[in-house]
């Protein structure tokens, strides 16, 4: 191989690699270093090395524990809700029918709406006095709810908005997978006398399972880091009800000016995403091996 062709891949990939190094990896490394200091926002160059103090303080803090719990709860419910709703929607519009393209377009809309517009409209829908959500409940004879200001409801409302925003992505992905189930497979199942449920379980589900796994992974890591919708709807409140780790990072850095602690929080949150990703790849490898056998 000539020197030129050996260099080629680096010329193609090099730009992106350098970019990530400068604008992602280096800031991340700085974040790691900050997490071992007591740096304050008002004096960003004046931090002292404090070892693992920030991590230690967090791990013995009940508020941190409840933030981790909130994060896991929010992520689990958002991913489960979006998977259920998205898959159900994909099945509902999988067969051809007149107007299907329009229906699919309408169901795709939430995914395209910018987060800030989502927040504006849901803040109004959930408005206590005049919002349409409470007026709907009143019509059913149910009293007013403080959707975004009641500590018992805050997380549920924020999760519902998140599910609404992200389910179309799952719908589109599952729909694409469903369309690729070979017609002969379904046909032969039908000839063999399998009922709808058996055909679904034995043929369709195994076919779309890898797709569901990757989309579940993406959904999970995106939910673990979701910021705008939560922060702008509730700011982490009411009474910390929606105080996920990323919200916590932002609050520590910009409200409490504690960059060291904020960075340590961010690192621990990142570990959560890493764990999920590693689990995913272990599961993928196992199922790949099973298919080889």
């Amino acid at each position: 191989m000539s020197t030129r062709s050996r260099l080629a891949p680096y010329l193609f990939v090099g730009g992106a690699a350098v970019y990530l190094l400068v604008f992602t990896a280096t800031p991340l490394l700085r974040g790691v270093l900050l997490s071992f200091t007591d740096t304050k926002l008002l004096n960003p160059d004046g931090g002292e090395y404090v070892g693992l103090d920030n991590y230690h303080d967090l791990l013995v803090d009940d508020r941190f524990a409840s933030s981790v719990l909130t994060t896991i709860l929010y992520t689990a419910c958002t991913v489960a809700g979006a998977l259920l709703l998205g898959t159900a929607a994909a099945f509902a519009i999988n067969d051809g029918f007149r107007g299907r393209a329009v229906v699919r377009a309408i169901l795709t809309m939430p995914w395209a709406v910018p987060s800030i517009a989502v927040v504006l409209v849901f803040t109004w829908i959930f408005n206590v006095g005049d919002g349409v959500a409470n007026r709907g409940l009143a019509g059913l004879g149910i009293g007013e709810q403080g959707w975004l200001i009641d500590p018992d409801l805050g997380l549920l409302s924020v999760t519902a908005v998140s599910v609404w925003k992200v389910f179309p992505f799952i719908m589109l992905v599952v729909l694409a997978a469903l369309q690729s189930v070979p017609a002969e497979l379904r046909e032969s199942a039908r000839v063999d006398g399998a009922d709808r449920f058996t055909a679904l379980k034995e043929i369709v589900l195994p076919h779309i399972a890898p797709t569901l796994r990757i989309v579940a992974l993406l959904m999970t890591i995106w939910s673990l880091r979701r910021f705008e919708i939560i922060y702008l709807l509730t700011g982490g409140g009411p009474v910390d009800a929606t105080n996920t780790l990323v919200i916590n990072v932002y609050r520590e850095a910009f409200a409490n000016s504690d960059l060291g602690r904020a960075s340590a929080l961010g690192m621990l949150g990142l570990c959560l995403s890493l764990v999920v990703t590693v689990v995913y790849f272990v599961v993928e490898r196992r199922s790949a091996r099973r298919e080889e056998l």
Binding site: G15, L28, T108, V113, G266
Partner: protein
């Protein structure tokens, strides 16, 4: 293909419920944009005053500097698209066509890892970096920060598109003695153009929608992109809601239109590109 008529009323019901769930908030933006203050607070009608539809554009004559915000958003979004695609087209092609070179795994991992990074964690280091580069309080700094998060997604989509182009097509041109870069730009790139377009839409609206960097890096309200500008209405009760939601609609509609145009390619690019490394 089977007609839905054979699928029973259960399915119709499900479709109708889904349409209402997905469509209602967008519908409500429109409804609110078309209502007067009195109508809103005396029990907002479920039916929008479509006869007032042109009044949505009155927002451009209001006190809200929407035109300036949208211009700033368009600048950030265009810049993000330009840098992201320039890097991602090359990287996507390189990762797809060259299977063995030092650091390939690392670059692949780094592209995926950006999906896990919370922006909130990177804000402070990026902030200090931009201060030292003199990029704070400017739209160009936003472009650079947004590109770091948008480019990996674009690279992913383009890589999976190139994966789908049979290598034999390039082989033929190679035999004719065409250099690799010419093959890339003249043969393969045109074939994956639809996916590049999809990646362009994704990156454009990444920049268009981005809020967190915009709200921390930009101090002058004249340089606010629309995401930050619109967020200033939250918890503010002076601007009429019809104005707020007219602005939100003008900001939202382009995103909906473009996403609907390219949704299929985004979906296949994101999922297939990530499983088959």
């Amino acid at each position: 293909m089977k007609r839905l008529t054979g699928a029973g009323p259960g399915r119709w019901l499900a479709v109708v419920v889904l349409i209402v769930v997905a469509g209602f908030p967008v519908y409500w933006m429109l409804n609110t944009a078309l209502a007067t203050r009195e109508e809103l607070f005396s029990g907002q009608s479920l039916w929008p005053r479509v006869d007032r539809i042109v009044s949505v554009f009155d927002v451009f004559d209001s006190d809200v500097p929407l035109m300036r915000w949208l211009t700033n958003s368009a600048i950030v979004a265009s810049g993000t698209t330009f840098f992201s695609l320039a890097l991602a087209v090359l990287a996507g092609y390189g990762l797809s066509r060259y299977r063995r070179f030092h650091g390939r795994g690392l670059v692949g991992f780094a592209l995926f890892a950006t999906q896990m990074l919370p922006e909130a964690l990177l804000i402070v280091p990026l902030y200090t970096l931009f201060v030292s580069l003199g990029l704070i309080n400017g739209l160009f700094g936003l472009v650079l920060a947004d590109t770091a998060f948008a480019m990996p997604v674009a690279a992913w989509i383009i890589k999976s598109a190139v994966d789908g182009v049979p290598y034999e097509i390039e082989e033929a041109a190679r035999v004719d003695g065409a250099p690799r870069f010419v093959i890339f730009s003249q043969v393969t790139l045109p074939l994956v153009a639809p996916s590049v377009a999809a990646a362009a839409v994704i990156t454009f609206f990444d920049g268009w929608n981005e809020y967190l960097f915009a709200s921390t890096f930009i101090r002058d309200s004249t340089k606010w992109p629309a995401s930050k500008g619109l967020s200033s209405f939250i918890g503010e009760f002076i601007t009429p809601l019809s104005t707020v939601f007219s602005a939100a609609l003008v900001f939202t509609v382009p995103a909906i239109v473009f996403f609907l145009l390219v949704q299929r390619r985004i979906v296949s690019g994101l999922t297939s590109g990530s499983v088959k490394g």
